[in-house]
Amino acid sequence: MVDKKEIEHLSDLIKIEIKDPQKYILQVEQILNYFERLDKVEITAEDLLSQELTLDNLRDDKFVPYEDNLIEKLKKTRENFVRAPKMV
């Protein structure tokens, strides 16, 4: 069951302040109920293939300088600094 407390807990995990948790309770619960079907699928050992990925064509580990001055493109900069919010 999804309740207000659960939504508030999740909202803390994802770092999004949710002003109206009520709005999300029903929808999130309905979707999670639908997800329940995943747990009911019988999966035999043969199906437990892991995701295989072989990378043999990696680029050389070489330093390539980036010419653009990226810091100029950020906001609230002074010299080479980005201004962060005051947190007390």
Binding site: I14, Q27, I31, L49, L55, N57, M87
Partner: protein, 490 residues
């Protein structure tokens, strides 16, 4: 000076190869075509809202290309044709908003690989196309800047999340577009707007410069008005990229060659789970018609069961939401973003406060992602979803031992009214039932406009095995050749 007569005669409704021929023969200039396109955009945009931003320098760029042509300098294969780019793909010097307040003013410092490849072939990026915020949605209703509208009926949704891409191609606001397809986001608008849309094999196209939503699933894909045009764009954007180590070497594949090979002797599997229950009657009869068309063309159609497909929606939304909740953690509005007072917060509250500007659909997905990954639930949802993903993959591999291609309608229903399903997210998620298997397994799929019902388009979808784009395009071309569809009414 350009004669008035010629100005009005010149049509935007030409294919890429016709455009190139005209430019080559000096019958048309890039500037004329771009000017006409911008005029068209100005006329239809208030009804359609396909774009978030328009390239202010398009005419200047077109003039430069015309100059190069006149001076007999080396010219790229696109000859200044207008192409729109989904606004979650980075374009240097133009905004890339992801249709989110969080990136309202973000100007990317670099071009995505696909964009730099197009630019180096002298394509003109005419504008940035609307989408659901961070590509999360199937209707383009979840854009912070407001929904796009379907050119076939402006009360209806254009599909999504690459809705602006589908609309701009369909309504002659550009010649082709790039979208991104995480669960069907290229094919859905292609189907709903009556254009062709391709989701390529995972790794065929570089994702460098695509704002990440679900890295293990998503691919950039082209939308255009014909299969030939799709093949042309694919030639330019496919291939290995040093900036994206998941890309595959595709050699010197030329997708435009031998498109008219036909389907004679090919075996096509009809996915039983995708043509029956839950599929609209008009869509069902269009699918039947497509099957008989393929049979007439000499293909053999047999039913194929893919029973894992019925769990694909649950598996996909579990995995993609999990990946999204971690990918979107980077948006803190500190280094870039909108103006938000930096003063006076309790420790930690700034980030939560500023992130409350993410839209409701993104927030919902993040909640789901955090839930399925949280301790105690991981085995029940995420791990099971991964197993189902493997199961889908192995069932598809088995199927492709029996058949060359698979077929299903792209969307189970016709385009519906804007706002009709917005309060029922699960219903919207279930619309992806026919498209998701391609994303979870990495195989390519294409949507081809095939029929109309009540003035609304129906697309037919074909799937092929990994890296079989050529075969996929050939079959799509064969199907396209049998159709005679009306021109967009706007």
């Amino acid at each position: 000076m350009l004669g008035h007569q010629r100005w009005f005669k010149m049509s935007l409704a030409i294919s890429i190869s016709q455009y190139i021929q005209k430019l080559h023969d000096g019958e048309l200039s890039s500037e004329e075509f771009i000017a006409k396109t911008l005029e068209r955009i100005k006329k239809v945009e208030k009804n359609l809202h396909a774009f978030i931003s328009i390239n202010e320098n398009a005419i200047v760029q077109a003039k430069q290309i015309d100059k190069k042509i006149k001076a007999n300098e080396k010219i790229g294969s696109c000859f200044g044709m207008p192409i729109s780019i989904k606004d979650n793909i980075c374009t240097k010097g133009m905004k890339t908003t992801c249709a989110s307040k969080m990136l309202e003013d973000f100007v990317a410092p670099y071009d995505a690989t696909v964009v730099s490849k197009l630019r180096s072939e002298d394509a003109i990026i005419i504008g940035k196309a609307n989408l659901d915020e961070f590509a999360m949605g199937s209707t383009t209703e979840h854009s912070y800047f407001g929904p796009s509208r379907n050119p076939w009926n402006t009360d209806c949704v254009p599909g999504g999340s690459s809705g602006g891409s589908g609309v701009s191609v369909s309504a002659f606001e550009c010649m082709a577009s790039l979208g991104s397809d995480t669960g069907g986001s290229v094919r859905s608008p292609a189907s709903f707007c009556s254009v062709v849309g391709l989701k390529p094999t995972y790794g065929l196209i570089s994702r460098y410069g695509l704002v990440s939503f679900a890295n293990s699933i998503e691919q950039i894909g082209p939308l255009a008005r014909t299969v030939e045009d799709i093949a042309f764009i694919l030639n330019i954007i496919a291939g290995r990229d040093l900036h994206d180590d998941t890309t595959i070497e595709n050699g010197t594949a030329d997708y435009t060659k031998d498109l008219d090979t036909g389907v004679s002797g090919k075996k096509i599997g009809i996915i039983s789970e995708m043509v029956g229950e839950g599929v609209d009657k008009d869509v069902q009869s269009a699918t039947k018609h497509a099957i008989s068309t393929f049979e007439k063309l000499g293909a053999q159609c047999i039913p194929i069961s893919l029973d894992s497909a019925k769990h694909s929606v649950a598996a996909y939304y579990t995995l993609s939401s999990a990946e999204a909740s971690s990918n979107l953690a980077r948006f803190d509005n500190i280094r870039y973003g909108f103006d938000f007072s930096l003063e006076g917060y309790e420790y930690n509250s700034y980030i939560s406060k500023v992130r409350s500007n993410l839209g409701p659909e993104v927030t919902r997905r993040m909640l789901l992602g955090a839930f399925v990954l949280s301790s105690g639930y991981y085995g029940k949802y995420y791990q099971k979803a991964q197993k189902i993903r493997s199961l889908i993959k192995s069932q598809l591999t088995e199927s492709f031992e029996k058949v060359d291609l698979l077929l299903a309608p792209t969307m189970p229903i016709l385009p519906f009214k804007i706002g009709e399903k917005i309060d029922d997210p699960l219903k919207i998620y279930l619309l992806d039932i026919n498209t998701i298997i391609a994303n979870l397994s990495g195989i390519p799929a294409i949507s081809v406009p095939f029929a109309m019902a009540n003035g609304l388009p129906i697309g037919i979808q074909l799937f092929a095995n990994s890296l079989q784009e050529k075969q996929l395009l050939q079959s799509a071309y064969a199907l396209q050749k049998t159709t005679n569809l009306p021109e967009v009414p706007i």
